[in-house]
Symmetry: C2
Subunit: 274 residues, 2 copies
């Protein structure tokens, strides 16, 4: 396995540089990357410190690091010149193209992407996060009128993290309701869910993956046994089909994929953007 | 205000295309962008549908849309050729550079960046999210030994969404403890927090911003009055200084910025990456 150090350099959070770099690096199999994020390089002193750190690493390893930069302020950009390293400068690549296309100069101001651009975006995310917390795990069912979506499925199928991700990333109001053993045995969709049937979305998951997740949570009782898990999953999927509830298999999906899939399939509008 | 339609095109979630495009677009003041995400374009039929949608929009508006693409599979990339639109293709720009630098061919496989690359990444995020939920808002204080960090501050200063973001994005175990009125009046750090002083990080916030947030939550009583809010903030900051607890001002920061600031200032390792 070949090793290579990768720096993410930013005068802000570094989230954009990390996202860009990560997407590209995952295209290279057989490499192991040591990832170092250097965010908030917002003074010339900090830029100088970063340059020294990068050059020192290059000397130690005898190979030039790869550097993904989203430095945007001109003074900082001009000062950032490591002698060693392959620099991939995100704004340098694309801002000129967009300036020509939009017939406009870019502002080269920091803090636009993941800063608090306006309080309303923060408030939307806060409200949606509070909604997800208050309506998690069936804790409360009298506020579904405000839900954009209500996720349902068996325990540990991924409902909670998906709801929180929808709230934090998109400002979407997402509740979740776990199907109880009684409900699964009866095969009847709970009345409260029938009332909001158009907002329902099911999650399902492969039995062996669910067993792995449940074992880590609670190894005792029937909760993590294969007969119990198989019954729950079959009953939940049968219920989704009987009531024509759309559903998605969470087994091989990340939280990001589940959230995107649900937004695409339902047409729910994002209130904020990443 | 000039309007322009922007498409984010991907054979996966579109999260990377959105993040990168958003960073670039925020550099242009005075423009209003209509944002359309077209994720999961993973068949030639879907690619064709996307091309038609883009061309139709161009005709309606009489101006070419901007298109950010993270299509990675070769067959799909070759089929994606809208007649109208300024295409910014992230993989096209950088994969050749990295291939030369790494002396390796890229895989051009989809689903690497935000897919479930391995179950352990999912488990880390799940575990951290459950930890944040169980240790939110001082609900539980007997599991702080497992915390990477414990956020503290007055009610509504942004502790909960920051903890959840740290968990979902970085797999970091983050608890939070709201300082009560009694604790603020006494000026004594609660004993349970004294025990884990090295894990503490404070959040503070400007009084007028906090008032705005609290009014939306509960307008009655003294909770959202300026004397109460000013007292709480002053007492909390005094406590942070007295006990030498590092703290950050959440007033002008997004959740991403707060999370990054805390990771940088504490040196806490990310268990997973965005």
């Amino acid at each position: 396995m070949t090793r290579r150090t990768v720096f993410f350099v930013s005068d802000q959070t570094g989230v954009t540089a990390e996202t860009l770099g990560h997407s590209l690096l995952t295209q290279f199999d057989g490499y192991e990357f040591d990832l170092v994020t250097l965010p908030f390089l917002d003074t010339l002193d900090k830029i100088q410190g970063a340059v020294e750190q990068i050059e020192q690493r290059a000397e130690e390893q005898g190979v030039a690091p790869i550097i993904f930069s989203t430095l945007v302020q001109d003074e900082l950009r001009q000062a950032f010149h490591p002698q060693q390293g392959r620099l991939i400068d995100f704004f340098d690549s694309y801002l000129p193209v967009l300036e020509r296309e939009l017939h406009a100069k870019s502002s080269h101001k920091a803090g636009q992407a993941h800063g608090l651009v306006d309080a309303s975006r923060y408030d939307q995310r806060m409200d949606a996060t509070n909604y997800a917390l208050n309506n998690d795990d069936g804790a409360r069912t009298n506020d579904y009128a405000r839900a954009d979506i209500i996720l349902t499925g068996v325990s540990r199928s991924g409902k909670t993290p998906t709801c929180l991700y929808l709230a934090l990333s998109y400002g979407v109001f997402a509740a979740n309701y776990p199907l109880s053993e009684d409900e699964l045995e009866s095969g009847q969709l709970p009345l409260i869910l029938q009332e909001y049937k158009d907002k329902l979305y099911g999650l399902t998951i492969a039995a062996n993956r669910l067993q792995q997740i449940r074992r880590e949570r609670r190894a005792t009782g029937s909760y993590a046994t294969m007969p119990q898990i198989s019954f729950e999953i079959r009953a939940a999927e049968a219920m989704f089909r009987r009531y024509k509830i759309p559903y998605v298999d969470a087994t091989r999906s990340s939280i990001e994929e589940l959230a995107s899939t649900i937004l695409v399939n339902t047409g729910i509008e994002r209130r904020v953007r990443p």
